[in-house]
């Protein structure tokens, strides 16, 4: 019997343990109930909602300018990309387009966010699997990106930089030189990343062949981002449904066919290089002009429904707005990437050892506020 009065050993002799809600490897307040046979995982039941803040309900009473700021608190590691999704969705409803300068700035900031997010993930994955040094390496480079964000919009994490019609302010005069310096620095560190973790024998043994997700399951579970691309499922929104001028930029969609933790790891490592490549193409080509389109003070979307998807650092984020013509949305639904990726956790983990659960969770790259919303 545990404290809740539940049996910890089932009739079939399975041992029931609770991981979380406060556990470092769950990367937030997630509670997993795990049924074990010896060390083997038989069943997993995720219990969500510990930080459910009802952002969807809240947005129904906010204006079309204000609801965007709540989304920075969803997936706080890709806050800018969430804002961009909402801004694009409102723009779709208003039938306006951000000026070219704003679009390019948004894309650069989005890729910087992706880089920062993947670096944090890389550090945490190392930490979860017992390597402490990557965490410090990752935070060293991430700090430079955070400083650029702070200089651009005043915030390091919850940026609130995208607004309907463009971006809130113009970029700082130092922006271009600073970004170029940081990119040079980051590029020179990729080899270090690979040396310390990717080629490490212990790391390979803990990730190769662990947490297999078949392409069919990835599609059925609606997995997106590196979780699906590690299984060879092409799903990069930037390629499938380009937005903000991604169609004019050259980059590759990274696909791995392994379907295991190592494949998902390799996808994200390669994605970092692609992000650097995208920014390098754009940083010297920011066109002159307005950084924000002219919009009315009070935004009112016409009656109808609007759907916009973007590629966040974790996968496809969909924003679905139902408007009844008023100044605040009638209904908003966020199709969050982590919610779908988490639902595939049981399929990935059943049959592997309890110790591998940590590796699986860290390569899905869970951010719990995004799951709970």
């Amino acid at each position: 019997m545990n404290l809740l009065g539940e049996d910890i050993v089932t009739e079939e002799g399975e041992f029931v343990i609770n991981i979380g809600p406060q556990h470092p490897s769950t990367h937030g307040v997630l509670h997993l109930k795990v049924w074990l046979d010896g060390e083997m995982i038989k069943k997993i039941q995720p219990h969500l909602g510990y930080i459910h803040r009802s952002i969807e309900k809240m947005s129904e009473s906010l204006s079309y300018r204000n609801f965007i700021y709540a989304t920075s608190r969803m997936d706080y590691l890709s806050a800018h990309i969430n804002n961009q999704a909402c801004a694009l969705c409102v723009e779709k409803g208003l039938q306006i387009e951000a000026p070219p300068r704003a679009q390019i700035i948004r894309v650069i900031m989005a890729e910087l966010t992706r880089l920062a997010s993947h670096q944090l993930w890389w550090g945490c994955t190392g930490l979860d699997l017992g390597a402490v040094t990557p965490f410090f390496y990752a935070f060293r480079e991430r700090e430079f990106i955070m400083e650029i964000m702070e200089e651009t919009c005043g915030a390091r994490l919850t940026m609130n930089y995208s607004v309907p019609g463009g971006v809130m302010y113009d970029i700082h005069p130092n922006f271009q030189t600073r970004v170029k310096d940081v990119l040079k620095q980051i590029r020179s560190k990729f080899n270090e990343y690979d040396d310390i973790l990717t080629g490490n024998v212990i790391f390979e043994q803990r990730t190769k062949g662990v947490g297999y997700l078949s392409p069919e399951d990835a599609i059925s579970f609606g997995c997106t981002g590196a979780t699906a691309r590690g299984s060879g499922v092409s799903c990069d929104v930037r390629k499938w449904f380009p937005y903000d001028g991604y169609e004019k930029v050259q980059f590759k969609e990274i696909l791995e066919t392994g379907g295991d933790c190592y494949a998902r790891y390799m996808v994200r490592m390669a994605e970092m290089k692609q992000s650097v490549y995208i920014i390098e193409q754009l940083i010297d080509n920011i066109p002159q002009g307005d950084f924000q389109a002219k919009t009315k003070m009070v935004l009112k979307l016409p009656k109808g429904e609007f759907y916009q998807r973007v590629e966040t650092a974790r996968g496809e984020l969909g924003v679905y707005i139902v408007s009844d013509g008023a100044a605040s949305p009638y209904r908003i639904k966020y199709r969050s990437p982590n919610f779908c990726n988490l639902s595939a956790l049981e399929t990935m983990a059943v049959g592997s050892k309890i110790g591998d659960l940590v590796a699986i969770m860290s390569t899905i790259d869970l951010v719990i506020p995004d799951v709970d919303r």
Binding site: G49, D217, G304, E305, Y320, V322, K333, A344
Partner: protein
């Protein structure tokens, strides 16, 4: 297929449907009881092959509830929005699509949690985000929370 072609192909198979083409995607509006046959046809028919359910949600229109299914075909790259109208707001019920797409499991639990729609034949219909003892369904328009402070 374009929206117009999709509309014609769906019309050839099913008669009991209405369309709404004001948005970006083709909206196919049906009654809740016709959901399963139509969604199975959209899934398995080679012409449509909608194999990817990327969004499942519900909208409360006060007089009725509207289930919304966003479907994408990865082979043909076309999208359709399927809307199933549930007329009975006091006891809303609809068939599950869990067995067709596994992602529907969590999404349907979320809709059950926040709108109170019962999914028939769902394997594990429990509240997902809120507490098990929570009263009412927060995303319904008639939901009143005494502790809520409006600014």
């Amino acid at each position: 297929m374009t929206n117009e072609e999709l509309k014609q192909s769906v019309s050839a198979l099913f008669t009991n449907v209405t369309y709404d083409e004001t948005g970006e995607f083709l909206n196919v509006v049906i009654d809740a009881k016709d959901l399963r046959p139509l969604i199975l046809a959209l899934r398995s028919n080679k012409e449509f092959s909608f194999d990817y359910l990327f969004c499942l949600t519900c909208v409360d229109w006060k007089t009725h509830l509207m289930m919304v299914y966003h479907l994408l075909s990865r082979t043909h790259k076309h999208t359709v929005v399927l809307k199933a109208k549930i007329a009975d707001v006091n006891n809303p019920e609809i068939e599950t699509v869990c067995d067709i797409w596994q992602t529907a499991n969590f999404h349907e639990r979320e809709v059950y949690d926040l709108f109170g729609v019962k999914f028939l034949n769902h394997p594990d219909l429990r509240r997902i985000l809120l507490d098990e003892n929570w009263e009412g369904f927060p995303l319904r328009k008639n939901y009143v929370d005494e502790n809520m402070i409006s600014i």
